[in-house]
Symmetry: C2
Subunit: 341 residues, 2 copies
């Protein structure tokens, strides 16, 4: 399965803009950031690496094109959302004790948690620095101001989502609605913000800006639900995440929350007993997977992702967008719920 | 020893501005922030508390007055620097494993480290939200832009300083010059930024803006050196920090770095042996204090603080400031190197 071409089109310029935000910042602190972004190995030597998909900046630039804007003008916002996303990943890995991401050791597992907190904090600040460059692109001050507000509020929602995600780990009473509320914050907020920012920087049409924001909402949910799917049924070779890891970490991902709601009798008791344990063992992971299979949680999860996808596709088709870009947006949306990585 | 009156003059408005940045944000995530700011107890009940001295916003507003500006206009920047400072404290306590701050349990010691990371991250974002309000005060877009750049760069330096501070813990070869370079980032950057922002928001005179930035540099160093002094010889009842804690945490504070440079023979060997240990015991703390006494590290440290204070006082006296505010700035500077809390 390959990335849609939209990812390719912007990739080198997103990368160049990111590198120029980091340019001249040579303290060892920034080595952690360059490492996380896939530019260097842990010793600081350049590598040809995977820096992630750059989904959010790609969505942002595509939205800008789709509303008839010049995507280059939006590059500072694209890098800002990518930096916000990545700072949250660095901190997320610390919070979840995850030792691997994108097939490589996580920042904290190399430099320790205290320094990884610093890496995330400076990356968070670099997002502001990146956004400052909108001025150099000739974006009017009022739009810059609005872009800052949109990004800050999305970032607050993202962190709030992280808060709920962690606080759900030790709870057994999470319903599907609680779960949806949590991912609206944790994942949807920054994805919807990316589409909104792209539209804002490409157009003055408030209806179309609102419309792309709405597309982003459905897309964010569909994306996260596919992520949950891969967190249980994904192929570790492709996802770069240890398989079954969401079960071991007691993440209240959609398949689990669904199973907790649906299970009855012996299955329900077994599920609760496993999730009451301090540490979930390998055989527990197998048992949980057995219960999920019996409850058809796999098809339920994928259907849920498709429902949000369909909602997004309808939104896209209802908006007055540049046709070629609109098609790419649809292609990208479909990719996100079918991807295996 | 009491706080200079300048702290009193701005206090209620700084507090009101901070509260209005938080207004309407009611998720449990924000309870951690309100707790850290001293507004509520861990259950979320209002308390009459100590929210710290608000040194940085006070300096910022005083600088604004000193250059003839209207300090109310600068309140959004004052709250932004206070939020940056406090987000860094929440993360610092996690990094240093500190269980107590301002006579209360630290955020992580109540809610755990993963959630405390979130508390810091959202507070960091709230600093951006606070700064957005400069627009409502009628500050011109170019000045807002410059204020954002100044604050972001100070924040990056602060985090870089944290990086060095932590990386020095396990090194025995830190010289006084390395130490000074580290505190220029960790502490001086945000204090100098506060004075610079205050001047920027109160005046268009570039020379006076530069001058107040320079005052802040000396003041930041003097302040941190006094902090180092209190970290070893302070009274726990007054500082709210366990006494000798800087020694136990192997912080390369000025007295220690000085002693490592000056000690010879048996003292040097003893010092190195203690700092090579994984865990520093109570009797080690006593031994280190004995060595510091023998080397007169106490008077050396206080003299160093006074040297930077004198530099700052000269700077202040050389600038065309509003006389009453300039005097208050001098009073505040003197307080910072004499304070016992």
């Amino acid at each position: 399965m390959r990335l849609p071409l939209a990812f390719e089109r912007y990739r080198s310029e997103i990368d160049a803009e990111l590198r120029s935000v980091l340019a001249g910042r040579e303290s060892p602190l920034y080595k952690m950031i360059r490492y996380h972004l896939g530019w260097v190995d842990e010793h600081g030597h350049s590598v040809q690496g995977s820096a992630g998909k750059c989904l959010r900046p790609t969505l942002l630039l595509l939205a800008c094109e789709a509303v008839g804007g010049t995507w280059h003008k939006a590059l500072p916002a694209a890098t800002a959302v990518e930096l916000v996303h990545n700072f949250s990943l660095i901190h997320d890995d610390i919070q979840d004790d995850d030792r691997e991401r994108r097939h490589r050791p996580t920042v904290w597992s190399i430099w320790g948690k205290p320094q990884a907190i610093n890496a995330g904090d400076s990356m968070h600040t670099l997002a502001d620095v990146a956004l400052l460059r909108l001025g150099d692109q000739g974006v009017a001050p009022e739009k810059q101001h609005r872009a800052r507000r949109i990004l800050s509020e999305a970032c607050l929602r993202l962190v709030e989502g992280q808060y709920y995600d962690i606080s759900y780990e030790n709870r057994l009473d999470i319903a599907v609605d609680d779960y949806l509320e949590m991912i609206e914050m944790k994942t949807e907020a920054l994805i919807a913000c990316s589409l909104e920012l792209g539209a804002l920087l490409g157009s003055d049409d408030e209806a179309v800006i609102r419309g792309l924001f709405a597309c982003g909402r459905g897309l964010g949910l569909a994306f996260q639900i596919r992520d949950d799917f891969l967190g249980i049924w994904g192929n570790q070779q492709k996802t770069g995440k240890p398989s079954g890891s969401d079960i071991r970490r007691k993440k209240k991902s959609l398949p689990i929350v669904y199973a907790m709601e649906k299970a009855r009798g012996k299955s329900k008791r077994e599920l609760l007993n496993i999730y009451r344990k301090d540490v979930i063992e390998v055989q527990d992971v197998d048992a949980v997977q057995g219960i999920l299979d019996a409850l058809k949680a796999r098809s339920y999860t994928q259907e849920a992702a498709h429902n949000y996808l369909n909602r997004t596709l309808e939104e896209i088709r209802g908006l007055p967008l540049v046709p070629s870009a609109a098609l790419e947006l649809e292609e990208l949306a479909c990719f996100l719920v079918e991807r295996d990585f």
